[in-house]
């Protein structure tokens, strides 16, 4: 089974009435990677995760986790996966430890193993002190940690993290990132959905951008960034500098059309990265007598990728209306 990809999806379709949440999704997630599913609200990320984690049956297409079909071999799949959804799925009235032991036993650990594993997880996620308290007294960050611990208790080979940092404060968010990095190092395959471009950029080795229920781009963050124009130099001209002279001076180094902003204070120069390029451009401007405040190398961000692929910037979390329309159109 070692050659089987961690997750394989072929032509997945899931419709709700007339709305297609998934419209023929294809995806291959190699084992041992952190894979980001990036897309706005309503793009189909959560639906995809729910199909992969056996919570939803697709209308068409098929999906496998480590070579096992999520519909016909659901029990095998459930033994290998962990799921952390957008909300902490815990029993509020039980203690942190009781929650973990319960989920461990339901994951088919023996009672003793479940208790040992629960204590190990509490220690690992810094929850030992709060272990004897009811979950409803936990803070948001503690719940999230306990929820992650719960999804790891059954030794999953593939872990699904559905928007793991949505609604978290910056501290808790940083902590979650740290945990995700640690898990990635352990060889667990992680499928992470997010609508935050920086999160995908920070954590994922590969990213699939999904919109309208299909994958519209796939690759490493670097590949995705270079697919939309790669790097450019931002030249900030000093007050009174001659814009025309500046454009002429930098043109030999440009890989495309040099653009100046409206008030003639900034140039954007598309370039192909090369050793010492920035220095050469500064010298050329100096020779032409153009005073410069600043020259910086800018790489395309995933925001640019997203914008160029979808024609819109990612929607904020609350605004789902137009995303639903897009899903319908797809």
């Amino acid at each position: 089974m070692s050659e089987a990809p961690a997750i394989l999806a072929e032509g997945l379709v899931k419709t709700y009435g007339k709305t297609a949440a998934l419209a023929g999704l294809d995806l291959t997630v190699p084992a041992g990677t952190v894979y980001g599913l990036l897309g706005p609200n309503g793009a189909g990320k959560t639906t995809a995760v729910r199909v992969f984690s056996t919570l939803l049956r697709p209308n068409r297409g098929r999906a496998q986790v480590l070579g096992h079909d999520v519909v016909t071999e659901a029990t095998q799949v459930r033994r290998m996966i962990g799921l952390t959804g957008q909300y902490a799925a815990l029993d509020e009235y039980l203690t942190g430890r009781a929650n973990l032991v319960m989920i461990g036993q339901l994951s088919r650990l023996t009672a003793n193993a479940a208790r040992r594993r629960a204590d190990e997880m509490l220690e690992r996620f810094d929850l030992t002190e709060a272990a004897g308290r009811a979950v409803k007294t936990y803070s948001g960050g503690m719940r999230r940690r306990l929820d992650l611990a719960a999804s790891l208790i059954g030794y999953p080979s593939v872990l699904f993290l559905d928007e793991p940092t949505t609604g978290l404060d910056p501290n808790a968010r940083a902590m979650t990132w740290e945990i995700v990095r640690g898990l990635a190092d352990s060889g667990t395959t992680l499928l992470l959905t997010t609508q935050y471009l920086d999160e995908a950029d920070q954590l994922a080795g590969r990213i699939a951008v999904i919109d309208g229920g299909t994958v519209i781009a796939e690759g490493t963050p670097d590949q995705l960034k270079s697919s939309v124009g790669g790097e450019h130099l931002e030249v900030a001209l000093a007050r009174g500098a001659d814009v025309e002279a500046a454009i002429v001076a930098v043109r030999p180094y440009a890989a495309g059309r040099v653009q100046a902003d409206e008030d003639g204070r900034r140039l954007s120069v598309p370039v192909v990265t090369a050793e010492g390029l920035t220095t050469q451009v500064v010298r050329a401007l100096d020779r032409a007598g153009v005073p410069v405040n600043d020259v910086t190398m800018q790489r395309a961000s995933l925001d640019d990728v997203f914008l160029s692929l979808t024609g819109h910037v990612p929607a904020p979390a609350e605004d789902t209306s137009d995303d639903e329309e897009r899903s319908v159109a797809a």
Binding site: S53, T54, L55, L56, R57, T75, R78, R79, I81, G82, L83, G85, Q86, Y87, A88, A89, L90, D91, E92, Y93, L94, T95, A98, M102, I103, Q105, L106, S107, R108, L109, T110, N112, A113, R117, E123, R124, F125, D126, A134, A150, S151, G154, Y155, E178, I179, G182, L183, D185, S186, G187
Partner: protein
Amino acid sequence: MTAITAELVPERDVTYERSSVSHFATDVWVLTKRSIARIRREPETLADVTIMPVIFILMFAYVFGGAILLPGHGSYHEYLIGGMLGMGLAQTAPGVAVALVTDMSTGLMDRFRSLPMSRWAVLVARSIAELLTQLIGAAVVVCVGLAIGWRVHTGAADVAEALALALLFGYAFTWVGVCLGMVLRSPEAAQATGFIIFLPLTFVSSAFVPIQGMPGWLQPVAEWNPMSALAAASRQLFGNPNPAASVHSWPMQHPELAVVCWSVAIILVFAPLAVRQFRRKVLG
């Protein structure tokens, strides 16, 4: 936080090799323990089967009871307990609904569904926890009853039959609760709907007042109310005053059979509905 290293599940720690019956039993046991742990941590969740019946018994025995005249002049305190038993047990149904809706809406049910466990165990464990709750409720009613002067004038077999009928009745209403839990979306809605159903069910019956005192158009409703059947059956089996015995309608003349029929009918209607919803929402 310690460093996280690669880990595989040790073979001796998992129970994959056990039979599916053993797995099912484990799942039911683990989930039942969960419900009991909740009760132990927050005993006030049992208020509906402990404090409520006490308040009702005391109120009806000492406040309203004096104004209620029983046809045949029996003791109202003795009359009351047969009615309270039915109310105390049916009262737990909204609790089942609230518990299930909570599991569904917090995402805990989704977590269960992503585990290699039996999903039916969720339902079975819930009904076992409910049965325990109902036993506690029945014990409270009996104890408070004894304290206010209620006595049994028959034998142990009759008492056992009365309690068995009451638990069957309570079990039937557990399915009503499961059904509500599957259909409704928030714990508050489950609570409110339970109240709307059980208030008239309890009060338009012979649970607290004799049917003979109700207006003529309402009497048939009360006579055919399953709560009246259980009240009449309990009173008859305990040897308590049972004015309904003189009411000429089938359920009041055959209250024990009526309780069985009602319970079976309720189970036949609500269990398949609940199971269908459960299949759709939980088995997916």
